[in-house]
Amino acid sequence: MSEWIEACSADEIDEEDVIRFDHGNRTFAVYRSPDNEYFATDGLCTHERVHLADGLVMDDIIECPKHNGRFNYKTGAARGAPACVNLSTYPVRVEAGKVYLQIG
């Protein structure tokens, strides 16, 4: 069963930035794009399992802090070496100033 989980307030994330969200024993990265949309992916890089929330958001790209692997955080697609395995993405909804993730 997939459920909607409250992750944070919408204003906790700066524009074109990312924060880490832990839930149970899982970790996610929640993004706010430059045009003010919210997205969510797995929290750990698929190269060496590093927290992506320490990385840099540029347009629709999250760049891993460890070795600069790149992903499109809207689709999860790996976009640059050494990242070659895609990230899972999760539906996001913003309601009354809160960001919710649907995690399966």
């Binding site: 074109e16 590093v50 927290h51 320490d54 990385g55 840099l56 760049e63 802090p65 460890k66 070795h67 600069n68 070496a81 050494p82």
Partner: protein, 413 residues
């Protein structure tokens, strides 16, 4: 023997050569691509060799960049374990150790570098160097709990190995001939932290004393120092730097200058032969064409990608800023640019002991940034600094020290 038509030929299947081969296909090239490797393994990443490959519980396997199957699927002919022994520029071909000859349309030398040998050290199974996965496997066996290891050289590989050896419970003495570790390319404030980190983790660090002799029998290695001391251990690893693999290029009459000398497009003195990665020296545009050779993973990767584009005729110049990282214990160090280009330094503290030094030229231009801190705490600032360096930015020096002065906002400007 007649040469086999091998199309685009890449010598060396490390980070650089492998990335170049993949990029030729990504760039849409349909012709033949041949990747010739000196090692038996599929192309793999070297940085874990001094880190996770040493400390993990399980028998490590190489972190592969592209498997045999993936290369075959991409129609990249991968000749593993068959070193190139000569380049025949007239015939436009390379000769392999088994006598085969491959003719090339364009040739990329991505032969990397190999450990500098310590001349006074004898050959012994107890004295090791680290470059390849096979080296790492052998070394791992030496670093078991309770064993004594001496590490010669306080550069990145020596220090990472010291950290890994401590993690595995070996006793470590590290000997550095200079008066401080990481003397090359790392500012003193950062070195100091690294030194304390190792001392705090029980590494005995011996500085500023030359080694006068190294002796090994089948049980011990004995290193005699200039101050009369002798250090005994079960084994020794030597990490005193690397030298570029330029033998093929030199024998073929290509210009060599601390590496195969290439121009900004990575062309050697023969325009149909390119060189990239650890084996080449090249002009660094961001510092007015200063010729450098880097031993850095991302550089190898990016030059591999650029070499592939230029083999296909793109004619692009290399414009990246050097970037390097190292992991030791729970700390990571990130450096963008070459710190010796700076004359003054501004320090920004990021909390938890993490800090970044911004290095500025005398005209106020940001030329480098070096940071150290737990985990990836300095990664973002150093990466943003790297982008500012590429733009030749002149940030406000007083505000640079303040953590709320957002580097990202400068990029938008």
């Amino acid at each position: 023997m007649t040469a086999v038509d091998a199309g685009m030929v890449i010598v060396g299947a490390g980070e650089c050569g492998a990335r170049a081969a993949l990029a030729l296909r990504e760039g849409g090239y349909q012709g033949r691509v041949t990747l010739v490797g000196g090692e038996p393994h599929p192309p793999y990443e070297r940085p874990p060799l001094s880190k996770d490959a040493m400390t993990g519980d399980d028998q490590p396997s190489p972190r592969v960049i592209a498997s045999f199957e993936q290369l075959a699927d991409l129609r990249i002919a991968f000749l593993a374990g068959s070193p190139v022994t000569a380049i025949d520029r007239e015939a436009r071909s390379v000769v392999l150790a088994d006598g085969r000859s491959l003719s090339y349309e364009r040739l990329l030398l991505a032969t990397g570098s190999s450990p500098r040998r310590l001349a006074i050290a004898p050959a012994s199974p107890r004295i090791a160097y680290l470059r390849t996965f096979d080296d790492a496997l052998a070394l791992r066996e030496q670093m078991t709990p309770g064993r004594r290891v001496t590490i010669v050289g306080g550069g990145f590989i020596g220090l990472e190995l010291a950290a890994s050896a401590r993690r595995r419970g070996a006793e470590v003495t590290l000997i550095e001939a200079q008066e401080r570790i990481l003397k090359r390319g790392v500012p003193e404030a950062v070195t100091e932290i690294v030194h304390k980190l190792h001392a705090g983790n029980g590494v005995e660090v011996v500085l500023g004393i030359a080694i006068v002799s190294v002796e090994a029998d089948n049980a011990r290695v004995r290193i005699a120092l200039a101050d009369g001391r002798a250090i005994e251990a079960d084994s020794t690893v030597i990490g005193i730097g690397a030298i570029p693999e330029t033998g093929l290029a030199a024998a073929a009459g290509l210009a060599v200058d601390n590496g195969v000398a290439v121009d900004a497009r990575l062309r050697s003195s023969d325009p149909d032969i390119l060189a990239a990665g650890d084996c080449c020296s090249f002009p660094l545009a961001v510092y007015g064409g200063r010729r450098v050779r880097l031993e850095a993973w991302r550089n190898a990767q990016e030059q591999g990608l650029l070499a592939a584009r230029n083999m296909l005729g793109a004619g692009e110049n290399y414009a990246s800023v050097p970037w390097f990282w190292s992991d030791q214990y729970e700390m990571s160090l990130h450096i963008a640019g070459l710190a010796d280009e700076g004359v003054t330094t501004v320090r920004r503290d990021l909390g938890n002991g993490a800090f970044v030094l911004f290095h500025l030229a005398d005209d106020g231009r940001l030329v480098a940034a070096s940071g150290i801190g737990p985990g990836n705490s300095v990664a973002r600032e150093v990466r943003l600094a790297e982008m500012l360096i590429a733009r030749r930015a002149m940030p406000d020096r007083a505000r640079l020290a303040l953590s709320d002065y957002r580097l990202k906002s400068l990029l938008a400007a």
